[in-house]
Amino acid sequence: MPALSSWLPFEWIAATRFLREGRAQTLLIIVAVGVGVAVIVFMSALLSGLQGNLVKRTLSSQAHVVLLPTEEIARPQQDDAGAVIQRQAQRLRSIDQWQALRARLESLPEISAVSPVASGPAFAVRNEANKAISLYGIVPEHYIQVIDLHEKIVAGELRVNAGEAVIGIELARELGAGLGDKLRVNASNGATDTLTIVGLFDLGNKIANGRNVYVGLRSAQNLLDLIGGVSNIDLALRDMYAAETLAQRLAGETGLVADSWIKTNSQFFTALNSQRMSSNLIRFFIALSVAFGIASVLVVSVVQRAKEIGILRAMGTRQGQILRIFLLQGGIVGLLGSLLGSALALLCLTLWRLLATNPDGTPLFPIELPPALVLITAAGASLVGVIAALLPARRAARLDPVVAIRG
């Protein structure tokens, strides 16, 4: 038996001694907590890996929020009943005063990047091939902060000086073009430009790979007849899940149309949310059963130690001290259990990485055990332990020493 460390308070000494004395009981409950924590940690890591991967794929070619000009609506001159108002076809228009708007957006703390874009439909022509494309005029240093296009480049580079274009691998295949080849772009208004392909990208999405063509902002403005203007402003947010709230606020403030990625992908987002909700529910119930486990072990321990508690009280131990001894036991069990659980979860994750792989041996999706998750779980489990110990500890503190010693 090691000597009492001089820096440990009495409550800690007693709590650890009691736990150590209860060997099998203590070990069993720590393992039980560990299993619960392992499931929570493993599930959280798996889910955040899966969702992160899904969100990343979804957002690979989308901004968190896109600001667009208001739709043009045909209004009847007079209130003439019976007149059929036909929805008007939308022209490509610029956002009013976009330079001023951009400066204002950049000053908002929620927004991490602002990227003006001039985009519109056009045709890519090369020899006999003629493909409908979406032309994106971008300022690369801003654009890559919103959409990490530079990480999707598979050949050449992301460079859009005058006369240069970056196209998707699918379009390149369909046009039979490669790096260095020329490409003619015809806009619907008759404007035309000849561009050199300097980069190829793969966004992981066949449609985008076959449609998107990135050029310099000025080239696109010229082609799309948007001189000095932009058709939309793309935003990246610090918290991407706040996109819808911010979009609604911006729409109200600017009078523009603001589309968040949440709204654009509402079904996907609903699926993500319900997945997260069900996993929260599972986590909650695991935590609850862990808490009940700790509480029941401590209740038994209080009954078993009634005499010891009585004699401690007779010796002048205050009720608060007894209370803390048992709260600490709950906390320590929670903490040790969570460490064991994290180790178990790490083991499961390693197995998962080895077993759940793509045909080429790479992992299905990246899944990690972030240290923050381990720390949060450890803190959470300790807290759950202390809370679970509340009732037994109160019982212990309120034991009548007379009854406890006689019993």
Partner: protein, 232 residues
């Protein structure tokens, strides 16, 4: 000589169902510092109840109880706990050591509880006390690994740790064989003679009572005899 304990018209009654039963009917008693007194009486006489009141483990229904001159009837629970820890040492029949701790640590326990953290001084004090009860060589044994007599010696050392004004011993030799009981009793007697510690010993063994300086007899919740005794 200082008065260690004074009871004035101490009453204790319990509610059993609708009926209130009085166990102690107005006890008056005074103990002076250095006394070595026996409290005897048949079972059911109220000995244990009285001992619990004197030990501040229970509160009287009425009357006043003074420990070393401080009245206790109006003190809150926390103050009672403190007073108990500082002024009263307990020796119980069933030893009641904390088995998760060593003999030395058990002796240190009242000091540890009082001061909150271990320090070398309390270790020193506990070692001295263990030596006084003849158990220096068992200091680092876990309490549960000691024999009954050894456990009772540790309990006595523990009761003395705070230099209490009064040590209450409830059938201190009840669970021990005659020879061990004898040596435990001699130990209590020696401590009383050497340090002047005040003892109140509850016993139903007339041979032990006969070795005390004063014999107080409790029958049906009343003190029926209180006489000086001169042990042979």
């Amino acid at each position: 000589m200082a008065e260690v304990l004074r009871l004035s018209q101490l009453r204790k009654s319990y509610l059993s169902g609708e009926e209130e039963t009085e166990i102690l009917h107005g006890i008056d008693l005074s103990l002076q510092s250095g006394e070595f007194a026996a409290l005897i009486g048949p079972s059911g006489s109220g000995k244990s109840t009285l001992l619990n009141l004197i030990g501040l483990l229970d509160r009287p229904s009425s009357g006043e109880l003074q420990i070393s001159g401080s009245a206790t009837s109006h003190l809150p629970e926390a103050a009672i706990t403190r007073l108990r820890g500082q002024h009263i040492g307990f020796v119980f029949q069933q030893h009641l050591l904390i088995p998760a701790f060593t003999a030395l640590e058990n002796v240190m326990m009242p000091l540890l509880v009082e001061r909150g953290r271990p320090d070398p001084q309390m270790r020193q004090r506990a070692a001295e006390l263990l030596a006084a009860v003849g158990l220096s060589d068992r200091a680092d044994y876990l309490a549960g690994k000691l024999s009954g007599g050894q456990q009772q010696r540790v309990a006595i050392a523990r009761a003395l740790a705070m230099r209490p004004a009064l040590v209450l011993a409830d059938e201190p030799t009840g669970n021990l064989d005659t020879q061990t009981a004898d040596s435990i009793f001699s130990l209590l007697r020696r401590i009383n003679q050497e340090d002047g510690t005040t003892f109140l010993i509850v016993t139903h063994d007339p041979r032990l009572a006969a070795r005390c300086d004063r014999i107080i007899e409790l029958v049906d919740g009343r003190i029926t005899a209180d006489r000086e005794n001169h042990p042979a």
